[in-house]
Amino acid sequence: MTEEEAPPLTLRELFWRRFRRHKMALFGLATLFLLVIYSVGGTLFFTEAYANRTDTAMRLQPPSHEHPFGTDTVGRDILARTIYGGQISLLIGLTAMLVEVVIGVTVGALAGYYGRWLDSLLMRFTEAMLNIPQLFLLLVMAKFFGGRVPNITLFGRTFSGSVVVIVLIIGATSWMYLARIVRAEFLSIKENEYILAARATGTPTGQIIFQHILPNAIAPIVVSATLSVANAITLEAYISFLGLGVQPPTATWGNMLEGAYNYIETAPWLWIFPGTLIVLTVLSINFVGDGLRDALDPRSLAR
């Protein structure tokens, strides 16, 4: 039998085998891939100046040959704006997730590893943060910090300072669940004999936390981080929709919806395109997150 002669599967092959079985996750991954191509590749066809150019004579044009997705309330091309807006939305999702992971893992790891008063202190703080509704906190912080950060020029492009503000405040208000997950993982992993064995060979504490315990907790962190990308994109859309998020002319899928509610029936192309893109992105990320959970967690049922 050829099957018996095959070498044992590596961890990566095992992971891929389980992930592949999750059809929606594969669909999500493919869609995400296309969305990235769309928002990155689209820049080859339109310049950012074009995406931000207003032309009041051309306002609220329905989709046409010249403007396939139509134009918005000040005559900007919606297709070009969804492309550049997509970059910002995806960027915000990813960077806000990074902020969240850094804060959440640090707080959770310190609380879980050291325990005692540090654990009590950090966990009470975490619970206090959880008790404040996140949207309320986001809106207050967006209002408070908005406009205080100057614009940033990177790679020859100017980003509104509000992008940085949004990333930081989304990260700073959504790390709590991750911190709790990481703490719980640390509490159980640190009791393993191999941690005692690592300490018995004189391994410094920092190395034990980051190189011995953290890799054992990586599965739930990866899953949680993936889902939080979707969450960050939704939150950005929400506060930008309320006008407190990323400020024009920088486009995001969220702030493209701002003002569209006045034209829900009269100019549906204003919200259909960015709205669909948000929904597609968030759904795809959530599917991928589910697939990751099933593939990474050996205890999950969907094998």
Partner: protein
């Protein structure tokens, strides 16, 4: 000559919700350069806790080292800071654990875990350390060591993992190897291999060994001196020949009698020691072994005996001397 390790009056307690557990109660012993010391006793008698205390690996709280000194080359290990202790662990004193299945981190390769000690203590680069890790694995008898370095713990069998544990412990040429029941989780043939390996490496590298076990048979062929522990006390200590040939404490005698023997006829039942060890939450006022002792006297019940010499390098904590 001053001993390599001089433990004096070591006392460890655990402050639990149920009360204070008197895990180790003022034990003293010495370990000389190149010597092998056996610590025997039944489960829960403080063997492991006493050596973990030396390494300062007792979880604190609830544990607390209440009193005592542990002079290693004249320096009290119990007074060192955590940073100083990290320099001792693995480099000066290394440890091999009971269960090789759980003592390796499942997500790191064997080579990585051995190399880490070398990088931490010997200032090696990772590349050098991986090379040395392969040499160490070869030394403990693992074939194709360079290849096996890249394997994860689950790809090793139990015996091989215990060999790899030894390789990891010996990586920095420690002066003292503490082996905490390292063969208990292995089957008998593998046990014999590991014991032979430790003996060979001990002689080759000239280190001292503290071997903890509840299997008296292992100690006989391995150790030079033996401590017998009971309820956190040392009840008898002496040279291995004296302990086996001329046990003077009733507990040691009972332990030796309860060993299964090949020359006994098949129908005979194994001899046991009646009763249970005392609850370490409530130590009896007198000798902790008194309730189970065949030689018990009135005095044993209210007055605790301390160690007294009964021969050259031979001490017992007993009023009776059997």
């Amino acid at each position: 000559m001053a001993p390599l390790l001089d433990v004096r009056d070591l006392t460890v307690r655990f402050y639990t919700l149920d009360g204070v557990v008197h895990a180790v109660n003022g034990i003293s012993y010495t370990l000389n350069e190149g010597e092998t010391l056996g610590i025997v006793g039944e489960s829960g008698c403080g063997k492991s806790v006493s050596v973990l205390a030396l390494m300062r690996l007792i979880p604190e709280p609830p544990g607390k080292i209440e009193a005592g000194q542990a002079l290693y080359r004249g320096e009290d290990l119990l007074q060192l800071t955590e940073e100083q202790m990290e320099q001792v662990r693995g480099k000066e004193i290394a440890m091999v654990f009971q269960d090789p299945m759980t003592a390796f981190n499942p997500v790191l390769t064997i080579g990585r875990q051995i190399a880490e000690t070398l990088v931490t203590h010997m200032g090696m680069s990772w590349k050098e350390a991986y090379g040395r890790a392969a040499e160490l694995l070869t030394m403990v008898g693992i074939p194709q060591a360079a290849e096996r370095c890249k394997d994860y713990p689950h790809q090793f069998s139990g015996g091989m993992r215990q060999r790899a544990m030894l390789a990891m412990a010996l990586a920095c040429n420690p002066s003292i190897l503490i082996a905490d029941e390292p063969t208990t989780a292995l089957d008998v043939t593998i046990q014999a291999q590991i014991i032979d390996l430790v003996k060979r490496l001990r002689d080759q590298l000239g280190m001292s060994v503290i071997w903890i076990t509840h299997d008296l048979g292992i100690i006989a062929g391995l150790a030079e001196r033996v401590l017998v522990m009971y309820a956190g006390f040392i009840v008898e200590k002496g040279r291995v020949d004296d302990i086996y040939g001329d046990p003077r404490h009733p507990y040691t005698l009972a332990l030796l009698r309860s060993l299964p023997r090949v020359d006994r006829s098949i129908g005979d039942r194994l001899v046991t020691i009646g009763g249970l060890p005392p609850d370490l939450l409530r130590l009896p006022e007198g000798c902790p072994f008194a309730p189970r002792c065949a030689f018990v006297q009135e005095r044993c019940r209210y007055e605790r005996p301390s160690l007294r010499p009964v021969g050259p390098e031979h001490e017992i904590a007993c009023w009776v001397d059997v």
